[in-house]
Amino acid sequence: MIARAHPFDSRRVVGALFLAPALLYIVLIVGLPFLLAIAFGFSDVTVGNTDLNFVGLQNYLAVWENDIFRQVFETTVRFTLISQIFILIFANILAIIFTQNFTGKWFARFIFILPWATPVSLAMIGWLWMLDTKYSPIDYLLLQTGFLGPNGILSSNRNLFWLATPDLSQISVIFVQVWRMTPLATVILMAGLSSIPTDILDQAEVDGSRFMRTLLQIKLPLILPIMVIALLFSMITMFGDMTVVYVLTRGGPVDYTRVLGLYSFQVGIEGGNLAQGAAISLFAFPLLLAMAILMLRTASRAEVR
């Protein structure tokens, strides 16, 4: 008698079952709201009336003609790109350090991961205090050490006004984003470095390869695909983020730190124009999609090679 094959013996069935929870999660938490946002963007919905009356491209055209939107879009792209450069540099350095053997490595790793593990709103309240226009502890230290004050090297004021001047407010926001996102990128890169077969590294050592040569010609090329994934995660998270600027600057001074997520919220929820808020947020989608495709292709090619 031949035993009947159990459905769970099929790789396709089991694979689909394992994939189902993740797919369901994506459809419910990401897919449906995304489709709703698209529908809102082509309608005239307000916060008080979400009946979908189709208005075509009217919202998108109105948003594009809005000078503030164009500035906000440019700011979002600039903040994201500058942050990624620093995140990539710091994450690589830290990943290499944390994959070495040294005393206190686990504690150092634990401390380092905290910025990413801390709820972002809570962390931003901490930074809001650190960068306060009047009571910043950083300013206090600079004042005590002579960098600020009447004869100060940096300024004759008692404060640098971190979140109040155009340049410093932008630097502050980028710095905080780098602080927040670097741990995630580092952890991903550490996983990549740890997965490099030791025989390759041993062979390089036997062949007399020094640290920099091993790093540049062996380690970095091998972790390039995973580095691209880390960068993609970081970019997408940052591009859509509004919490950092909502807590720190609310987009100010003037519009210098206003980003797409925040502007979409201000127009759509606080201003009541839900349709236009949705349109603003969706402007990011084609750009992010193009970046994602490009980066995933790059990662794929690097992996094959």
Binding site: G48, N66, D67, F161, T165, Q276
Partner: protein, 444 residues
């Protein structure tokens, strides 16, 4: 016991006024109402309110629950509940929710009942409840918060203004003198936050400018607005520091409490906070009415206490909610008292004790008549859409911080006043056009 007696007196007064309180049992068994409102700046108010709501529920056979959240969450929660078609029975917001109008019940009946019972209401409240273009009362505004000037008495006395600045010229001259001699600046914000939005509007109105006229036409780009913006930029350059470009809503409170600002525009919140930690320092804080400008003296109310009932509320729940709102207004003496004179009544006749309290603060101010200047508040306290109504376009202009950003650009030297006002006018026109197309703004 005291609370029970007070409640009894209130209900007796209501009966005498013909409000028509429903006797217990008028609502179907199991009728429940729920309220969502902010965690009041004065915790004592919430303690009083929660107990009052529970007692009202017991007296009327209605289950009452009250949820308090941070005020920044009110609009997003209301939007979510309207979209979901379920949620709280009554939601209290602090700024006009005119853009929610399609999702809200028309409260004409209780607004008219209130005016019949207690006479005309403060104009600042009326304009934050009624949208003329659709002839609808989308809300019931029960209270508002004055936004007087708070000044450091010692500093301004030394500068030759013992009663604080009375005009915008005084503010510039005196504020500059204080800044030059002590390094302590004036504190009018120019940042994308609530207090900055109010302070900038107050100056523009007092110089004769405004975002819209009384017929809801955009008139921002005017000589008067340009003059106000030039004034504010000069004030910032000569009597303030750059900190005002990065302020949060709490920054001016913190600065005044720390003795590091000579003058701010705010509710009594900064003063009350100081009173609780340093009575002597609090005694050094004085209040001024709206400053006189070339065209008058106007200031925005600080916030409004606005009740709305979403469309999904029906039947006995709706009836009970309306009754609760009216009864609450009838009991406004307690609301004003327990908010430590933060809440002012939209119907002044509901708080006959108010003038007496302003002459002698029941919460121990020194001197006791510190708030006497607020007796004239209804002469100068206006709303965001002044001299028109607060419509959805005005709310969006407010949310986008168009006005403080316009001023900040000039103060930072990025644009001339003429350029900044023209640029802001263009954005305001866009916003008005969009809402006008939806039929929710008049004029055009």
């Amino acid at each position: 016991m005291k609370r029970a007696i007070r409640l009894l007196i209130v209900f007796s007064m209501l009966a005498a006024l013909g409000v028509g309180i429903s006797a217990q049992g008028d609502y179907a068994d199991g009728t429940e109402i729920s309220l969502l409102q902010w965690s009041h700046f004065v915790p004592r108010y919430d303690e009083w309110f929660d107990a009052y709501a529970a007692e009202w529920g017991e007296a009327n056979g209605v289950g009452v629950t009250v949820d308090h959240v941070n005020f920044t969450e009110l609009f997003s929660t209301l939007a979510a509940e309207i979209d979901a078609g379920e949620g709280h029975t009554i939601v209290e917001v602090l700024f006009s929710p005119a853009s929610f109008i399609d999702g809200l019940h028309d409260l004409r009946d209780i607004n008219e009942q209130a005016m019949e019972n207690w006479g005309e209401r403060a104009a600042t409240c009326q304009a934050a409840s009624y949208l003329p273009v659709v002839d609808t009362y989308y809300a019931y505004t029960h209270g508002y918060v004055p936004d007087p000037g708070d000044y450091d008495i010692a500093l301004w006395t030394d500068a030759g203004y013992p009663e604080g600045p009375k005009t915008y010229d005084d503010l510039l001259e005196g504020g500059r003198a204080i800044f030059e001699s002590t390094g302590i600046p004036v504190g009018l914000g120019m940042s994308p936050e609530l207090d900055s939005r109010m302070a900038n509007r107050a100056a523009i109105w007092s110089f004769g400018g405004s975002v819209q006229d009384e017929n809801e036409n955009v008139v921002l780009n005017s000589e008067e607005t340009i003059a106000a913006v030039k004034y504010l930029a000069q004030l910032q350059n000569e009597a303030m520091t750059d900190e005002v470009f990065g302020w949060t809503a709490a920054s001016n409170n913190q600065g005044l409490i720390a003795g590091e600002l000579s003058y701010i525009l705010n509710s009594n919140s900064a003063y009350r906070s100081l009173q609780k930690i340093d009575e002597a320092a609090a005694a050094n804080i004085g209040f001024t009415a709206a400053l006189e400008g070339p065209a008058g003296a106007w200031a925005s109310s600080h916030v409004w206490q606005i009740y709305v009932i979403p469309n999904y509320v029906e039947g006995d729940e709706l009836a009970a909610a309306k009754q609760f709102i009216l009864d609450h207004s009838a009991n406004y003496s307690d609301a004003t008292y327990y908010s430590e004179l933060y809440n002012f009544p939209c119907h002044p006749s509901t708080v006959p004790e108010l003038d007496g309290w302003l002459e002698e603060d029941p919460w121990g101010s020194m001197p006791p008549n510190k708030f006497e200047v607020l007796k004239t508040v209804n002469d100068w306290s206006v709303h965001l859409g002044f001299p028109g109504v607060t419509n959805p376009a005005i709310s969006q202009v407010f949310a986008e911080s168009v006005i403080p950003n316009m001023t900040a650009k000039v103060a930072l030297g990025e644009l001339s006043a003429e350029e900044a006002v023209a640029q802001a006018h263009e954005r305001v026109e866009e916003i008005f056009s969009e809402w006008r197309a939806k039929g929710m703004v008049g004029g055009g």
